[in-house]
């Protein structure tokens, strides 16, 4: 009896270990595959061309600069929109809302995260884009700004729930101390609780960005996919083409092993590196929070 239990324990332990290691192995293998398929483009296309301003893959012009800048523009603007909304919602849900409202709001926010991106894309294409065109008077509603709006909406659930967790981990004694000092509720929230949670809020922003930069379907449907180099603030209200949309749109019919094929994987590498950097920043923010107990 005792031996059998030992054996089953051993078996389960081994199984868990294998599963754990295989996850790491899969990530490594995917990364190696990405490198193997994508690295050749950096030799096939001269670097000057690779980072030039025009993307006409069917005719051998592989300038990835508009795609990289397009992705960055849409992601940054989406976070600028999502951050105040997300933090304000988190503050409301955690600090202000009565218990019954919190019970309703939290599941609704989780449902928000479950809306498929095609559905949001379709909504953006048929509803948000015409609105953007009419309100802003732009030639077309399929712009970087429309993409940022849809992405902000998609990043919101992530930002809200992570920021709410951060607020939640601020000890009650801080609030009590603030109120005892004669601060109003608003002052306590704004001057004590939110600053105490700021590294957690930073993590929320980073995770939201990670979600936004990797998003494909909704972006492809609402940004217009024109490979124009975004150079000024006005570009925000013009169509852009993102890296993810380019890969998704072109991978289907590209000939295996061609320069175009390698170029798409090359974009994948660039995207991977960018996402990795963002996640690294998020991880270091979490690390900081642990070390300092959430306070500076």
């Amino acid at each position: 009896m005792k031996r059998r239990r030992h054996f089953s324990e051993f078996a389960v332990e081994t199984l868990i270990r294998i599963l754990g290691f295989s996850t790491i192995a899969f990530v490594l293998l995917i990364f190696l595959f990405l490198l193997r398929e994508g690295l050749p483009v950096f030799f096939e296309v001269p670097p000057g061309t690779l980072f030039s301003a025009h993307w006409y893959p069917t005719y051998g012009i592989f300038g990835t600069l508009p795609l990289i800048l397009g992705s960055i523009l849409v992601t940054l603007v989406s976070i600028v929109i999502a951050l105040p909304l997300g933090v304000a919602t988190a503050v409301f849900v955690r600090e202000v809302a009565p218990a019954w409202a919190r019970e309703i709001l939290k599941p609704i926010i989780e449902v928000l995260a479950g809306i498929p991106s095609v559905v949001l894309g379709f909504f953006g294409m048929t509803f948000v884009a015409p609105l953007v065109r009419q309100v802003l008077g732009a030639p077309t509603g399929l712009t970087a700004f429309t993409g940022a709006l849809v992405l902000a909406y998609m990043a919101l659930p992530t930002v809200i729930s992570v920021a709410e967790d951060a607020l939640d981990s601020v000890p009650k004694s801080y609030r009590d101390a603030g109120l005892a000092m004669g601060a109003t509720r608003w002052q306590t929230i704004w001057r004590v609780v939110v600053p105490a949670a700021r590294s957690g809020i930073l993590t929320a922003v980073m995770l939201g960005m990670g979600r936004a930069i990797g998003e494909t379907m909704a972006v492809m449907m609402v940004t217009g996919n024109a490979g124009v180099l975004p150079t000024s603030l006005a570009s925000l209200f013009q169509p852009v083409r993102t890296m993810t949309a380019t890969i998704a749109a072109e991978m289907g019919e590209v000939a295996r092993g061609s320069t175009h094929y390698h170029a798409l994987f090359g974009i994948g590498i660039i995207l991977f590196v960018l996402t990795f950097l963002i996640n690294l920043a998020a991880a270091s923010a979490i690390f900081q929070k642990k070390r300092r107990g959430g306070l500076r």
Partner: protein, 320 residues
Amino acid sequence: MFEATPGSLTDRGESRTLGAVSGTGKSRIVAMACMAAALTIGCTDRHAANGGRAPETQVSIQNTGSDTLVNLALAWAERYMSLNPQVSISVTGGGSGTGIASLINGTIQIANASREMSGEEIAQAEKNGITPVRFTVALDAIAVVENPHNPVQGLTLGQLSNIYTGKLKKWASVGGEQRPIVLLSRESNSGTYVYFLEQVIRGGVAKDTSLFAPETLLMPSSEGISSEVRQNPNAIGYDGLGYVTSDQKVVAVARTPEGPYVLPSAGTVLDQSYPISRPLYMYTAGKPAGAVKEYLDWVMGEGQQIVAGVGFVPLKGKGG
């Protein structure tokens, strides 16, 4: 799930079959669903036709390729299988390139293509011991569309070229309102994109290296184009005639400024007065024989009667 197979985003059939659900349809799934339906019909008819006799030997034909052609190929396959229950034809999309590659690799008997095979592809096929044979199975007109509120009635090929290369930026310069022109196109891997670039923008001149203006919006689907054209009075787009819905305005096209300005239709494609039309092909591996030959003969003969119903133009003198 929709993000998993980006290849299918270029499908042209989606807006009709998946419509509002996504605008990012899946030709393969659609094709399979229709296939399943087709097979079921085929099976039922087989029992009826055989009247309880033992089934004859089954022949199966694999047919893959162009997303432009997939709806038509499915319609043909369904009809043919109901007439000839002993034959089963499986049709899938994936794009002209996919179909041609499968033909080269010898995994299918018939490849659908909305463009001709390149010299490189033919050489590759011959290296594998396969001589591709081309059959023209239908014609397709490419319609230029704009918003119904746009007063512009007709454009010349030269004007279209200047519009799509970004030389003309205002509708006013082609007789329209004081509005900017918003260019819409399909994605660059679509056969329609290549055709439009070579025949309209470059005017069929091989040495011309003009390209679409960078400002061109590349839409992932036909639905993307029709939705923008429907809403935006600034937009101009193009697509296969079979994919143009009634809420878009079709522009008459002329070869020269003197005219005549012609609207696309089966008649104007056949008498060649409409300037932007192209043939659609089926390629076989080697000279077709047996069931494949019978099928192709039927497609180019009796099968032409259903072509117009699917939105394409039947071959000369064959339409019903």
